[in-house]
């Protein structure tokens, strides 16, 4: 049975909606943040009262340009807006202000990585628009509730070419895009709160075919799990349809997460005629050459730039790199930290195993981690130089430093008596004690069970409270046991 499905290739293009994290809405001063009691982030403008006019929030243009530059898009420096006309209860003006003919960004691409390898997903264009409000249909039996807090919040719609071939690639693209918008600080990329959602255009074709099959658009997928489920269902539906001699009809689909089923919302025949025309209330917005340069110069390091730096220049593993570059704050923190130490792997371990979990536990940003970069570098050196054992350093010294971040690690280690000792008298005394306390084990060892050395090491460590310097201890143990 699965051979039938294997004959086909899945083709997916996305329309990703990203809600911008501007303080105010796209065309008025209302609070644009998520949440708030229903219908509190509103004004006469977002309610579409008679006589009101849109005023452009220039931040949204800047954010769009930032994203476009990061993706390598061509930036349109003269931006016009258009009206998309349709009636819906949560659309106060009866039209949405959007960009139809000349989107702010054209072209560009985002690289993704999946098990199938690395590939580039081309961007068709990115345009600016405003969000609609929210209709809530399940609160009252015979009426719908409308919350217009979201109405007018600025959005970017990122339209890709049909370059994805699996749900995994869609997942990777969305993850990458989420990471990017967070790096650029243009959106929080939060899918649960609807800051990022996507429509998937799905079609199938026989492998090797050069033309695309008829596509269906699955609307408003607001979680990756739903997107995967919806794509899986839709691909099977289309293949089954084709295999049974039918044809895929171009339509818009809804996905019901409860049943895992896609169902038609409207067919091509009843597609809306949105009657786009130029928005007469907004003059063209010009992004000057200077402004463009300025935006470009202020771009933060991009995820792939940090990844490359960590992997090729610092020689870190792919695993470590991924964790360290997932969030911009972590990436930048790490990039700065390694300015103070040459032990990159040690620094990576420290950040991954200790600093990130600590910050998460405390609910603080990594930039608020109490211990400064230089002290952390010194701390790493203490371990590297064998002054403090790895275990003691992590278990005792680091928590102590967090409490007293202004203390130099070496001084604190000394003060807490955590410095490892290679002092021969000190070690000889300990080793002698251990040998004396374990005559049976010594005998067994002497008969040839050399593996017991570890046991003796452990005993010495215990007695030294972790301070015995391992290398010297090991040498001394061998010497005294073998004598």
């Amino acid at each position: 049975m699965s051979e039938i499905y294997d004959k086909y290739e899945t083709v997916i293009g996305l329309e990703v909606h990203v809600q911008l994290s501007t303080a105010s809405k796209a065309f008025c001063g209302d609070d644009a943040r998520f949440g708030g009691d229903p219908n509190t982030h509103i004004s006469t403008i977002s309610l579409g009262h008679p006589g009101t006019l849109p005023m452009l929030n220039k931040k949204q243009v800047e954010y769009a340009v930032r994203l476009g530059l990061a993706l390598g898009s061509e930036i349109n420096q003269t931006n016009n807006f258009d009206r998309k006309n349709y009636f819906y209860a949560d659309l106060p003006k009866g039209y949405q202000i959007t960009q139809d003919l000349r989107p702010v960004c054209v072209g560009g691409s985002l690289n993704i990585k999946t098990e199938a390898g690395e590939k580039s997903i081309r961007i068709h264009h990115i345009h600016m628009e405003e969000d609609a409000g929210k209709s809530i249909h399940d609160m009252a039996p015979r009426s719908s509730w409308i919350d217009l807090n979201r109405a007018g919040v600025p959005l970017l719609e990122i339209v890709t070419e049909p370059d994805m071939r699996s749900a995994a690639e869609v997942d990777a693209f969305m993850t990458g895009m989420r990471q990017l918008v967070r790096y650029l600080e243009v959106s929080d990329g939060n899918m649960q709160e609807g800051s990022m959602r996507c429509d998937c255009n799905v079609s199938v074709r026989l492998k090797g075919a050069t033309t695309y099959g008829e596509r269906c658009e699955i609307k408003n997928l607001n979680s990756m799990r739903y997107a995967r489920q919806a794509i899986k269902f839709e691909v099977k539906r289309q293949i089954d349809l084709l295999e049974s001699g039918g044809q895929v009809e171009q339509q818009t689909l809804n996905f019901d997460p409860a049943t895992g089923v896609t169902s038609p919302l409207r067919s091509k025949e009843d597609a809306h005629d949105y009657r786009y025309f130029p928005e007469p209330d907004l003059p063209p917005v010009i992004v000057s050459d200077d402004h463009l340069v300025q935006i470009r110069e202020h771009l933060p390091p991009l995820p792939w730039e940090l990844e490359k730096h960590f992997q090729t220049q610092l020689g870190l593993s792919e695993y470590d790199t991924k964790i360290l570059s997932e969030e911009k704050a972590t990436g930048l923190y790490f990039r700065d930290l390694v300015q103070h130490t040459k032990n990159f792997k040690g620094a990576a371990n420290l950040v991954i195993n200790k600093i990130l979990p600590y910050c998460q536990e405390q609910g603080i940003s990594i930039t608020s981690y109490p211990i400064g970069h230089q002290h952390l570098a010194d701390f790493i050196s203490l371990i590297e130089e064998g002054k403090v054992s790895n275990t003691i350093a992590y278990q005792k010294l680091l928590p102590a430093l967090v409490e007293a971040p202004n203390q130099a690690p070496l001084a604190l280690a000394k003060q807490l008596n955590l410095i490892q000792s290679a002092d021969e008298d000190f070690l000889t005394q300990l080793v002698a004690e251990v040998i004396e306390a374990n005559p049976d084990k010594v005998a067994t060892y002497k008969k040839g069970k050399k593996g017991l050395l570890g046991f003796f090491m452990g005993e010495v460590m215990k007695r030294s409270k972790g301070k015995a310097e391992p290398k010297s201890t090991n040498a001394l143990l061998r010497k005294m046991l073998d004598s």
Partner: protein
Amino acid sequence: MEVATQPKYSQIEQVQRDLREGKLTCVQVVEYYLDRIEASRELNIYIEVYAEEALAKAKAIDERLQENADDLGRLFGVVVSLKDVLCYKDHQVTGGSKILTGFTSMFSATGVERVVEEDAIIIGRVNCDEFAMGSTTENSYYGPTRNAADPSRVPGGSSGGSAVAVQADTCLVSLGTDTGGSVRQPASFCGVVGFKPTYGRISRYGLLAYGSSFDQLGVLAQSVSDTALFLEIMAGPDEFDSTASQRAVEPYASNLSFERKAKIAYFGSALDHPSLDPGVRQVCQGLIDQLRTEGHTVEAVDFDYLDYIIPAYYVLTTAEASSNLSRYDGIRYGYRSANATNLMETYKKSRTEGFGTEVKRRIMLGTFVLSAGYYDAYYTKAQKARKLIQEKTFEIFEAYDFILLPAAPGPAWHLGDNVDDPVAMYLADIFTVQANMVGIPAICLPAGTHPEEGLPVGVQFMANRFQEADLLAFSQKVMDAFPKS
């Protein structure tokens, strides 16, 4: 029935002088206009009169006048009415439509706000064609307004209420709006001054949108000097309207002298147009002759696009209107049909019952010209025509200061004359629409009386973009030379 009389005050200056000298109180001024409103009730000018409020404000101004007259705003003692498409905070605004019945605006239009800040007194809101769509003020939910010169005649439109409000001396100045002649044509029919500035000179914030790329606030007054002062006060940048011009506002009111000789163009094709009434032609010709006698150059120029103006205008304005009026959907405010049981019915029934015939006609027309498959044939083509008309007009202004045109093809016609023939009605806008297509300032001045009908006839002057100062100064000169008959 009231017939147009000589107004008690025809200039702000007069009122303010009498107030300052204590010959008059502001309360008396308001009382006078309230009496006039009462006396002209049959003309159906006012939708709502703010009598108590106006008297209270007048009283406060009288007190301030006693204390220190210099602290008063530039419009103290000036009684103003508002066309029912202009928002005035905490007052109703309905666009002359059933669909906005009971709607109270939460803010004032920028123009209104600026006038009120200068201590003008708003006495009421006046009738107009529904959402400013019409040329007679017959398309109003509140019934037609009548021309004070002859109550069997229309006052023109859509700012017909504003024109009659000034004509019948119920206020000193009325604020109207002009999308295709809605200030100038009724001014012509009623024998008052009607002025529309450059597109973007006055903020459109608080103006109920009809054709957003055409709409402008306008002034209807007895005099050019009052018009200039109102423009000076209302014009200028506004953070709430991105299409409002950033250009500095000139002191129009104190710059009303025009010393040089003007170069004026008129279109032979307009004066010879078959639709032009001979009496109107005669008035225009008389004015042209007189201007020449005064030493101005008046020349006929070619303008081949006259016949394209109306079709292009109606395609573009109805397209914009179809979208602008989508917000009147019965959901958030205004009229909602009680007979609807679901969302689609709420839309259909509220809009069917709430809008009048002409508005529905224009919404359908606009929806059609924007629809897939027709957009290029209509909207795109009309935009091209608009561009050509603009270019040709600017070309004329390279050689001429002003363009002279009739304001309307005839004098006021009778009520009901054209209601069944919308196209004939649209064609009557032929001389006024050009200024809106191009976005230039234009003024209609009372130029005489129709030789046969005895009705007022206005003549229109247009100037290049932002040449308001010149246009108003020249208008003042014309008015001085032609005392009102």
